[in-house]
Symmetry: C2
């Protein structure tokens, strides 16, 4: 048992070292970095498609799309206008780690980017433990999944800075209590910034786009003033 | 790397040994055993609630409900009429293993059961690798998650015997192609038995209940004739 723990610690510390290297590279180029995490099918790729379609004229977004199998998500992001998209097929692994991201990062010209987004494997447990060099994790939950998810998967909500509540156009068909999910999430992590949206109808997306723009502006200013 | 692999093999072989012991116990009492797996929020607990409500008069169903945190699911199953329900809180682990099930099994009087169901942690990746002594894995996918899930998470669909397509009442609000998901799933595993249902409206549930009844009858007959 102790051997298992020490090996786990070693793996994590190697991961943290690589994550720090990624963070340093992105910081050098003043690029905010987000790590998108959620259950399978919560709408990570849909939100990234909408984001590319809406913002590609005013900013350049690099993305890494992780999946256990297939490059479908990366292909969808390219079709949505993404110019700097790289797939990672984990081939079985339930999360991305910093080594996988490090490996594809040199294939993206960071000097061209204003924003960098990692789409993690769909899994509400395992990706929470892996720093990928991001500034913050963005956890998505769709109203069809139920309002109890923050309490049942607390690690992910504790380690995220932003919660996106997606598919609000389906609210009337679900036993989903918006106040309850907010209360449950803030009970786990009082610092969470919360967005409500529907990628299908577009409701709430403008607020999200504006927030992304402010992130980019802030990172540029923050470093110019440093 | 080789050390990591050998430890992983050892953990799995210990798991397989315990799973075999569970299987032997359940077989001795002629109890079919199902291991429910899916993404968080696909409707595992809802389907089990409906199953308990519909079948409790004619059969006794024991259930183990696993979650990373909270005993909410087990409480819901008790409220739905379940008499032999045990929670397992993994406290962070992303899947149930045979040791966890072994530990709670003595608390259930197997001589009273006609059917045994394990509700795994919501995770479409990690639980696929762990035999819990079940006769078959039942993988749920809800139409809100998208029809690409079998291709993106092939391990789970390969190791399952049954696929339940849930939330079909929401079909009109989703870009979900029923033929596509069937084709994708059968491409991964041509032996999959497929059910379509809505736990919310009740559509398709009768076929599911009848199948469960036939499972119980078959297991009794199979062993009486053995």
């Amino acid at each position: 048992m102790s051997k298992k723990i020490s090996i786990e610690k070693k793996v994590l510390s190697e991961n943290d070292k690589l994550a720090m290297e990624i963070r340093e590279k992105l910081t050098k180029y003043r690029i905010p970095a987000l790590n998108f995490v959620s259950s399978p099918g919560s709408g990570k790729t849909s939100l990234l498609e909408k984001t590319l379609q809406a913002l590609s004229e005013e900013m350049t977004i690099g993305m890494v799309a992780g999946d256990v199998q297939t490059e479908n998500d990366a292909n969808r992001l390219v079709n949505a206008g993404g110019q700097y998209i790289k797939p990672i097929v984990t081939g079985g692994s339930c999360h991305l780690d910093a080594r996988m991201v490090s490996k594809v990062l040199p294939e993206i010209d960071l000097s061209k980017l204003d924003l960098f987004i990692i789409e993690n494997v769909g899994n509400l447990v395992c990706p929470s433990g892996y720093d990928l060099g991001e500034d913050m994790k963005v956890v998505l939950v769709s109203v069809t999944e139920g309002d109890d998810k923050p309490l049942k998967y607390p690690g992910m909500f504790r380690r995220s800075s932003v919660m996106v509540i997606n598919k609000i156009d389906m609210l009337q068909l679900c036993d989903f209590d918006m106040e309850m999910v907010r209360r449950n999430a803030l009970q786990i992590n009082g610092e969470l910034k919360i967005f409500e949206m529907s990628c299908r109808t577009g409701e709430g997306l403008d607020i999200w786009f504006n927030w992304l723009k402010s992130l980019v502006t802030a990172k540029k200013g923050q470093l110019l003033n440093a």
